[in-house]
């Protein structure tokens, strides 16, 4: 069995990281726990750093260190425990997709600090919407995916420690041909890579490649390989396979003007951009663009899936406790309180000699804090106008009912807004009652004009209200999209459409995720535009049955 190219890339990335751990910052490894992954991780001791394991909910005390109370009391002098970040280390973060933005920011700071840390983020995310925080992904040189690699395609791999050490020693002396940076920057721009860290990481990778090869100068092949490793997984757009002549021309025109030194000496130093682009294209999987689109869609709908994070003192995942007063609401962190009180016992006893036992003062009180996911609220905005009624109000009702059953299972709240005639009506304020919702829905009459803007405004108001009460709203619009009644009740098709668009943008500006379901007999172009303004998925369902509709909603809002 031949070696998988993905495996070859992974082992090369690991060796490069061992050559320049601080500079290349690390690897984003997408793979479930598997023998293949274990085989790669077994080579981690090749890194010239101690390997430290983290946990996605690692606390600040573990990261930065803190007062070691047991040692302090025993010694009678302050003893601090060392944090993981105290010394340069190869940090291994399993379940990296679950790391909070806060942890990602802390790790990003640690990587930026120049202390020489590197990070191996093991991303075990299942779908495109579950992934490493972008702040970290941006800083890590190598993005690898071991998912499709079988064990037999991944021969055992033992890095040559001597060669790596020699390469590390030689790294500083490796020079870069003039023009290489310009080429890296241009290729990055053409692949739609915005971050300026990426070309720098590619440059460092090229240097490490040259050092590994025992050369004192970066060669074209190094750049090719570096670009393939670093750029390919980050490309957000692909250049034309056969670029039109005007495309590569501007860089060539720029060169003489800026006096770029890319043409010094022989022509072999002039690195052809196309060559680098080819290398990237070769490394891209065939369905790259489809996956990009999926990733973008997932980003649009993010936050709707699980509700926003909320901090409180009642329930959820525990956070470090903090100082506070007893108010009957919050729960006291007894251990934290005792730990805060302990160092002061000597001083306090001297101050009040008469009192025996532990002296705890209000200052010592530590309160528990928890992080919780807020409840999701699905706001259904249903078009009950004449045109929609004629089409398929019944079907829409059926779909909503199916969704309700699902929402009930997930303990989501639902609200129902119907619009017809000249305005919108809140049929059902946010509730978890399935029966009530069904009853209201069944009694929903159809007929009249289509005041789409009024419906959207009601949805916006309700969503903001709900957010104020700690819920995470999402708006699901079911309509045939022929808006013909303006907000003031006039029958003005143009004004109605413009207002609906404006409100859709308003919803997007507030970060309220949405979904547009076209219930018309034929897909309506205006509605696709509206979905664009909402930044929401658009589902034309000309022959929808309720079950398909429900599946589509579940998929679009991300379970």
């Amino acid at each position: 069995m031949s070696t998988s190219p993905l495996w070859a890339r992974a082992t090369l990335a690991l060796r490069l990281l061992a050559v320049d751990p601080g500079g290349l910052a690390g690897i984003w490894l997408r793979a479930r726990p598997s023998p293949v992954r274990d085989r790669l991780l077994a080579a981690l001791p090749a890194l010239p750093l101690p390997v430290r394991r983290l946990h996605p909910s690692v606390g600040d005390e573990a990261l930065y260190g803190g007062v070691d109370l047991a040692a302090t009391l025993a010694a009678g002098a302050l003893r601090r425990s060392a944090g993981v970040l105290g010394r340069p280390a190869a940090l291994v973060l399993p379940m990296a997709e679950r790391a909070t933005p806060g942890l990602a920011a802390r790790l990003a700071l640690a990587l930026d600090s120049g202390a020489g840390h590197c990070l191996i983020a093991l991303d075990e995310g299942a779908g495109a919407d579950e992934a490493l925080a972008p702040a970290l992904a941006d800083r890590l040189a190598f993005h690898l995916d071991l998912g499709p690699v079988g064990l037999r395609e991944a021969p055992a791999f033992a890095p040559d420690a001597g060669a790596l050490a020699a390469a590390r020693a030689a790294l500083r002396a490796v020079s870069v041909p003039p023009g290489a940076m310009a080429d890296l920057a241009r290729v990055a721009a053409r692949l739609g890579i915005g971050s300026l860290r990426t070309p720098l990481l590619a440059l460092r990778a090229a240097r490490a490649l040259a050092a590994l090869d025992g050369r004192a100068r970066v060669a074209t092949a190094d750049l090719r390989q570096a670009v393939e490793l670093v750029y390919a997984p980050r490309a957000t757009e692909l250049p034309e396979p056969d670029p039109a002549p005007p495309d590569p021309a501007p860089p060539d025109q720029d060169r003489p003007e800026t006096g770029d030194d890319g043409r010094t000496g022989a022509g072999d130093l002039r690195l052809p951009e196309e060559l680098l682009l080819e290398a990237v294209a070769a490394a891209l999987p065939a369905d790259a663009l489809a996956r990009l689109a999926a990733a973008r869609a997932a980003r649009g709908a993010r936050g709707s899936g699980a509700g926003a994070v909320q901090k409180g003192n009642r329930r959820g995942r525990p956070l470090p406790s903090r100082m506070g007063r007893i108010d009957g609401q919050a729960r006291i962190d007894l251990v934290g309180t005792l730990r805060a009180a302990a160092p002061w016992q000597g001083v306090r006893r001297r101050e009040r000699p008469g009192r025996d036992g532990l002296q705890v003062r209000p200052d010592d009180i530590r309160l528990k804090r928890f992080e919780d996911r807020s409840d999701r609220l699905l706001v259904f905005v249903v078009d009950a106008s004449g045109s929609a009624a004629l089409a398929r109000l019944g079907e829409a009702k059926g779909a909503v009912e199916l969704l309700l059953a699902e929402a009930y299972a997930r303990r989501d709240h639902v609200a129902l807004i119907a619009f017809r005639g000249t305005g919108a009506e809140l049929l059902l304020p946010p509730t978890r009652s399935l029966v009530q919702t069904k009853r209201r829905l069944a009694g929903l009459p159809g007929g009249g004009g289509t005041p789409l803007a009024a419906g959207l405004r009601a949805a916006l108001d309700l969503s903001l209200q709900a957010r104020g009460r700690g819920m995470s709203p999402a708006v699901i619009l079911l309509t045939d999209g022929r808006a013909n009644i303006a907000l003031d009740g006039r029958a003005d098709r143009a004004a109605a459409a413009a207002e609906a668009l404006g409100l859709a943008r308003g919803l997007r500006a507030r970060g309220i995720p949405g979904l547009v379901i076209d219930t018309g007999a034929r897909p309506e172009r205006a509605l696709a535009t509206l979905a664009g303004a909402l930044d929401a998925p658009y589902l034309p369902l000309p022959r929808a049955d309720a079950r398909r509709l429900s599946a589509a909603v579940a998929a679009a809002l991300g379970d």
């Binding site: 500079g23 933005p101 702040a135 915005g194």
Partner: protein, 334 residues
Amino acid sequence: MTQPFPFAAIVGQDEMKRALILTAIDPRIGGVLVFGDRGTGKSTAVRALAALLPPIRAVEGCPVNSPRPEDIPDWAQVPSRRIVSRPTPVIDLPLGVTEDRVVGALDIERALTRGEKAFEPGLLARANRGYLYIDEVNLLEDHIVDLLLDVAASGENVVEREGLSIRHPARFVLVGSGNPEEGELRPQLLDRFGLSVEVASPKDIEARIEVIRRRDAYESDPEGFLRRWKREDGRIRTRILAARAALPALATPEAVLRDCAELCVALGSDGLRGELTLLRAARALAAWEGAAEVARAHVRTIAPSALRHRLRRDPLDEAGSTVRVGRVVEEVLG
């Protein structure tokens, strides 16, 4: 990191650099918020600023950088009365910081070893008369934000622990940076920042190449690179000092006051903070440019930075706040 990247060597990002320089000229402008994409040099610029700022004169060994011996708070035991020159403090407030680290706490070590109650000043004390920098400010814990708001408003930090009441001045320029994709900032904190800047990665390919080239030169040979840019940084520092000296004598014509007020009314920004900041920033800009008086052009240049984070969100207006400020500036100032 040994030495930060030199300020003068940062390619482009003129608005961000200008905003930082203006706060160095007049700290009362009240801080800078830098929001933008990843990898655009936000934190690089702030850290570079530290090396650029002119030194301050303070009592030797004073934990709150008091300018005169009589300003030293009574809890601090400062043996020296000598005034020395020290670099303007630029203090990092890390995300995971505890309340005790920020405001200061009683010194546990002394309590345990000597049974004494002594105050150990926190980051706010160290940042007095300097800068407090928060990277990823939008991810800061709410209770730390509340604390900072409180201190920023009063200019004084009060700590009450173990029966001791300790207070010390805490006046600092708040600099925050963040990526809006990762979370919004609370409006109360937003309003505390005098200027707000949006940064994006440069679109111009030559600028991008230059960024990479300089960064690589810096990483390969930090000493040599710093030596090359030292003179440039020195020039900026001299200009900041000159502008500071010129600021009090700078004339503010009535028309400029009117412009500021009209702009703020047209934009519907809440309170008077917007007007004050706009005026102060325009004056600092005029001083930086060596003008004898503030002109409409200065107001126009600085208006987006001073006002874009003070607008009310309008659900029916999809344009970004920068565009809206630009539109109103065009309407009002013609």
